[in-house]
Symmetry: C2
Subunit: 571 residues, 2 copies
């Protein structure tokens, strides 16, 4: 491709409103442009990467025996009514009416549509197991789209759905998808980690996420230093306390604490050890009898909202109570709450159950209790795992301790059980001629998100550093003063032709630009290999080569350059 | 691909509500399934064809120097407001609001979005000409979706947009697209015809359609028997009458015609030659002063609605007047209208201008006039080309006569001039540093429609007959009694492996089905080549081969079969 016939559209300035590096670099490198909030156009360099990611995903899905189909983006509401998601799904589900006032949605996912197809097309166990996938545009009406294509409203996704009559083939297909996802990310040259995950709103029994590792990742991964245990921190079980509760040594005392709105202030101004404090968090409950529930974790611990949401007493999706509701029910604001004489149900973290002589808000603004002890001052409360595991704690697998990594979720696989098939009556006849409800698995890859995640992991201060497998072009040709030097032009054109004929994707900068501009563009766009052609090198019978990742420069003889590039920058 | 791992989903019965053969066969062959009115899922066999069509389109667009991008399906309304299409576009434009009550559309086309991108990204003549395309899902909220994917609401389209500062590069790109479209359809093995077309609602100055020829086509193509002239009948100019108007020989007489509601009845019951009758058609006018306009064509001619719509006095989009409005304005119903003493503006076809002694309705129910003559009985009216050209008439090109063919429009190319760039202020600096408004071209291919059109052109009573280039698989392997004969299984598995390794796409029917069922499925799905493996043939050292298109059978020795299939069924 000649730059003169291309839409390179690079920008020097870091764009405003782009918070993360991948978003900034995708804009600067001319990969995407914003059309509206959360809506992007993929410019040529971006689309070339997107299509490569798509192709690798497709190849690995096909290799794993999945069969490709394509479902419509616009879906009739009646299918969503069947599973109850027409009502239950939040405002991320874009609902609209057509010209005949019939209800439709713009599909954020396709469980309903695929289950409808399978219940009509599959009637016998002989047709199973079946794993159907599509690579297709999805829409989620995010309340606050951000980070470019990392969390956009319209995005490209691979979603697969498998159908089974027995747990064994369900497990086999799940395992094959696990392997396919590992292959996909390995082939792309990305550092990644599969982790155990919460099944969340989509439901089901077993789930893994695939994370591209990057310091900027939104997710925390807890892994064992000794085993291959790894889980999203949302899911990683905190260890049970090894210590037992000590006997009370202090009396219950009320303390005026006008300066303590937070645990940090309580510790700082009133000399209480943070391990002797608790945080009392009021969240919305799941029942009318208990519209508010108090969750209590130790002062130095963090509430894990996913674990909380999974409790029966807590509303899903998880939501903190409003201050007004808290004041009405308890008579104090969030900075002064505690378990003593609390009128709403309490659930405590396991580590809180073994505390003694601890401090907490007195449910009266500006007042705390110290010397609180279970049984003596307050009734024992039910305990659960409510908090995030901490680096250095024992791994739930029993081996080693926990370390943390940051990751970007790019894939997610689930065993759904019969959640959808039951609701939609998807049954087939088993070997005995008896109708059985199908087991389902579902498997998603965020195709457009992978592009952004790859950049978060692979960049430097000059721009993107593409892994070869997904680079928009493998090599850039940079002729120096081509418009003045006939020899440079001749060599550049010849090399362009030879590389192209050898099946190498080349970006040939044939613009009348200064060398510095051309170099900066190539490095910003992130092509793995750069070949510089100048009069000086021609005299020496070599091309100057630069490796984008290592920065290493080499001189490569004319007759070796094509092989050298084909070999990925090796002789 | 093994049928046991695939979703074949063939059906014997012709489905109800599928009017055209391609729709019937796509359902029966398991290519598509309906999810809602005008919304289809592509099952595996359908998607394989769709992806092949897409790949050929992409290759030819790339070869022609177009650069691929991807724009969002969801588009902000403000861009459509800039061109006025937010208001002007009919209810086919699906408008909706997001969760923040902002207006959006589901894109039926992308002129606004691309023009917005180009006005921001292209600033200099050095970046031109530029031809950007995408292959993307579109949505048109058709009032009456029909014919399966031929006229669905959600569909796959390739749309390209080119930008120029001068007419010369505009013409060159237009010509390159013309050639690319010809290549695309030729490579797919489809009989097609490029024809001159009306520019219609999208506007512009020059336009060609590409039609796949099929008897079931909705469009009529008028072509010259002697030259390469071809035009959509909407566009083909009718010849001016060669005869001159004869002098009046009859007196104007009023005739009671209770049995004549139509021209045919007038001719049948009252003995009037059809060439001596006219049809008076009342359509909506474009101005408030003339809300109704009468269009008059000869009794044996057909009104051409596109030609009519292009008249200044006629409302666009074209619409016939309601009977109630006609009665109110004229005092008679549609069966009894005529030019004598007519109170609304009249436009007549050129052939009507040379008529004499003719008959027409008397604008009084059940009454006609005979012996009508211009000037004597009614004032001369403005004449225009209002009718369809007729087979056998002189070709507008001056060579040969007109013959008619039926076609399915699968491609359309336009020169748009500055329609969109002017409205949206898309200008770049020319070589003199002066801002100039861009010229635009646009070029569409109905990717999903091509699949249906190919079937309309290529089928028989047993099913689809795929051209090799777009067949879902190149060859089907049909083993006879594989589940009983070890030898058959062995040979079938070996052949499947050899063909697959040779890069041939194979559908291997490994089901426990009767030979008749398997044969019927293969022929219905339409694979070009079928290889039958049975015990009898194995003894003879050959496979039985059947060509789907010719029906010809051959015996091919074991060691020649792979080459034979690779060669497209030739030794």
């Amino acid at each position: 491709m000649r730059v003169s016939k291309y839409l390179l559209s690079t920008q020097k300035e870091t764009p405003a409103n782009a918070e993360v590096i991948s978003h900034q670099l995708m804009l600067r490198a001319g990969m995407i442009r914003r059309n509206a909030s959360g809506l992007y156009s993929w410019l040529p360099s971006g689309l070339r990467v997107l299509r490569k990611v798509e192709a690798i995903v497709r190849e690995e899905m096909n290799s794993a025996g999945a069969v490709e189909i394509l479902m419509p983006m616009v879906q009739p509401a009646d299918l969503w009514a069947e599973t109850g998601r027409w009502e239950k799904f939040g405002p991320e589900l874009l609902r609209f009416q057509d010209r005949h006032n019939r209800d439709f949605v713009l599909g954020p996912t396709h469980e309903e549509v695929i289950t409808d197809i399978v219940r009509k097309e599959v009637s016998s166990y002989k047709q199973l197991p079946l794993n159907l996938y599509q690579i297709q545009t999805k829409f989620r009406d995010e309340v606050r789209p951000r980070f470019g294509v990392m969390r956009s409203r319209e995005f490209l996704m691979k979603d697969a759905y498998s159908f089974h009559l027995d747990q064994q083939t369900m497990d086999e297909t799940y395992e094959s998808m696990f392997q396919a996802y590992s292959n996909i990310l390995s082939r792309m040259g990305l550092g990644f980690r599969p982790v155990m995950a919460d099944t969340g709103a989509i439901g089901g029994s077993l789930s893994h996420e695939f994370h591209v590792l990057a310091n900027s990742g939104e997710d925390l991964i807890a892994y064992s230093t000794e085993s291959d245990y790894a889980a999203n921190i949302e899911k990683a079980e905190s260890p049970q306390p090894t210590e037992t509760r000590q006997a009370a040594t202090q009396t219950l005392s009320k303390l005026e604490t006008p300066k303590a709105k937070t645990i940090e202030e309580l510790v700082e101004h009133y000399g209480i050890a943070i391990e002797k404090t608790v945080k009392t968090l009021i969240v919305k409950g799941s029942s009318e009898e208990a519209p508010l529930v108090a969750l209590i974790v130790r002062g130095d611990h963090e509430l894990n909202e996913v674990k909380a949401e999974n409790l029966e007493q807590v509303l899903a999706p998880f939501e903190f109570a409003d201050e007004a509701d808290i004041r009405k029910a308890i008579g104090a604001g969030p900075g002064s709450l505690g378990p003593v004489e609390l009128s709403i149900p309490v659930i405590i973290d396991h580590s809180v159950a073994v505390m003694s002589d601890f401090a907490a808000g007195a449910n009266q603004d500006g007042m705390h209790y110290t010397g609180i002890n279970w049984e003596r001052d307050i009734a024992e409360a039910p305990a659960a795992d409510l908090r995030n595991i901490i680096e250095g704690e024992a791994s739930p697998c029993g081996q080693g301790t926990i370390a943390l990594l940051r990751g970007i979720e790019v894939g997610h696989i689930f065993q759904l059980g019969t959640n959808y098939s039951e609701a939609m009556g998807a049954k087939v006849l088993d070997v005995n001629g008896k109708a059985q409800t199908l087991l389902m698995g579902c498997y998603g890859v965020g195709v457009s998100r992978i592009v952004a995640a790859a950049i978060e992991q692979n960049h430097d201060d000059r721009g993107i550093i593409w892994p070869e497998a997904i680079a928009p072009f493998k090599v850039g040709i940079l002729p120096m003063n081509m418009h003045k030097s006939h020899r440079v032009k001749e060599h550049a054109e010849k090399l362009y032709q030879e590389l192209t004929e050898a099946g190498v994707e080349v970006l040939f900068d044939d613009r009348k630009e200064r060398a510095g501009v051309m170099f900066a563009d190539m490095e910003l766009v992130g092509l793995p290999h750069i070949v510089v052609i100048g009069d000086r090198n021609i005299d020496a019978g070599v091309f100057e080569y630069k490796n984008r990742r290592t920065g290493e420069k080499q001189e490569i003889p004319f007759d070796q350059i094509v092989e050298f590039i084909k070999n990925g920058g090796q002789v």
